[in-house]
Amino acid sequence: MNGVRVGNRIIGADSPVTIGWENVPRVEGGPFKRLFFTWFQPAVLFAMILFWYYAPNSIAKASTAIGIGIAFRAFLLALEWVNPRYKSWELTWKECVTDLFYVGLGYTLLRLVDNFISSEVLIENLLTSFNWDKLAFFTGLPLLVQAFLILFIFDFGQYWMHRGMHNWYPLWLTHSVHHYITQLNINKGAVGNPVELFLIGLGIGGLFDFLPRAALLAGAIGMSIGVYQHINVRFNTPAWWRYLFNTTEHHSLHHSQDFEASRSNYASNFIFIDRIFGTCVDGEAELLGMEGGRRMSIREQMTYPFTEAWKTLKEKFGKRHETTAVPAE
């Protein structure tokens, strides 16, 4: 396999990938289907912005956001059946159970742990200890600017954390488990070792004060952009969208079995951050995962970072019990 030169790198030397938007397949079917899968993403984004901008205070609550989030994901799950990107990513019962287990962990045990050691809590404690207030100057900005700043601050931090995970072995150990997924489905973003899920959620947003409505807008915009990272639906995503935002195509390359392709497209929502730092590759991949697509069981996903770390430490510092072969005389 020769691969394709993108900047200074050769992408696709280890595993087949598609590079360049002109080579990515388009939605096939009648005019309504093509229209729907072309404008669905922007229409949802603008509808979400309008809803959360104008919703009365009695409706604009976190509980409404959670309800909309669940309903939207259920709808996208149905879209995976209607217009899958790849048949080889079809959601099976076993995959559904595995994914939901991780979603459930996120809503229960991880949330419980977050009550004590999330970055929000740590920053809150820091501010209280020094009797500081949150930086309140953002609250005077227009709502949409505040919402963008909330998202951008988080995404910028998450870009470097994610890039760090791909470049520093101890962090990679925690993140590698997520790269063992072999297909993209709507809940695959939740799959990973709990240590990584904690690390990837770290941010400095807690230092700043924002209006509650701005936070809700940020949540809705983030969902309307980020939810497509792990999804098995083919869209004709408009060019301006894929220039600014992360897409399934970008993220499938990131999960590709090709080593160089996996070291690209780190941002969660704003792919322009990758464009700024030269890590963006436009294209898509079907063959995903590690070790040639080996599927990891939940048990291994839970223990892998620790067992691998132990193996590495033993190799580096452990006693050697090698016997020296003495040639017979």
Partner: protein, 228 residues
């Protein structure tokens, strides 16, 4: 990645064990993780022909199998997501002769089914842990909630652009039932509701999976045997 393994011991398939067999008590519960079934073979089809038709099921990565005479046993280690038998870990298939013709009997176990069956219990336990931790941390959360309440009572104004566009202005929060509940130890931060919802979801998923996977494998085997 296919290699030969030892055939399963014992004369009968576990699914056909007589009632006095020492393992028969297991039959009361092993339906949770075991899928059994039997399919009539097309007229004149021999055991070798039947297994040859089913061969692609066992030529998947991570699958080991051993065919000896009229029986075939298999094990699977980390099967691919799209493996048609990905939920099964081990099992045995046997061709038996009956007066009406040949019959394929199968018995397969699944850790995935067992996991899904136990998952509701696990999430109920998570719910109890959340409630327990909430009770233990009550004094701390009272202080944190008080600080949050003070912050919430600050009245903020919208930017003039938002006022012009007609966005609703932030309200000074009223003391409602939710706030009262928060003052009572910040209990909704330690609510077990999500855990119980997931317990219910997994119970539903188990029922779906137990019925669906049973039917799917039956249909797939039948299709392969008849060449449909």
């Amino acid at each position: 990645m296919t290699r030969m393994v030892q055939s399963m011991p014992g004369g009968d398939l576990p699914g056909t064990a007589p009632h006095r067999d020492g393992r028969s008590w297991m039959r009361l519960i092993d339906w949770i993780w075991t899928v059994r079934g039997e399919l009539p073979l097309p007229a004149g089809q021999s055991a070798d022909e039947a297994f040859a038709r089913l061969d692609p099921f066992f030529r998947e990565p991570g699958t080991s199998f051993d065919q000896a005479g009229r029986s075939l046993s298999f094990t699977k280690q980390d099967p691919l997501a799209q493996d048609k038998m990905s939920i099964y870990d081990r099992g045995e298939l046997r061709v038996e002769s009956q007066p009406g013709g040949g019959v394929l009997r199968y018995w397969m176990t699944s850790k995935s089914l067992l996991f899904c069956f136990l998952a509701p219990l696990m999430f109920i336990a998570f719910g109890q842990i959340i409630v327990g931790v909430g009770m233990l941390t009550k004094p701390d959360t009272e202080q944190a909630d008080k600080k949050k309440k003070d912050e919430k009572e600050k009245v903020r104004e919208l930017h003039w652009i938002d006022q012009m566009l007609g966005a609703p202005a932030p309200e000074k929060p009223k003391k409602d039932k939710k706030d009262e509940k928060k003052e009572d130890g910040g209990k909704d931060r330690f609510s077990p509701t999500s855990a119980y919802v997931f317990a219910g979801l997994f119970a539903l998923l188990y029922v779906i999976g137990r019925i669906l996977e049973d039917r799917l494998i039956r249909r797939r085997f039948l299709r392969s045997l008849t060449g449909g």
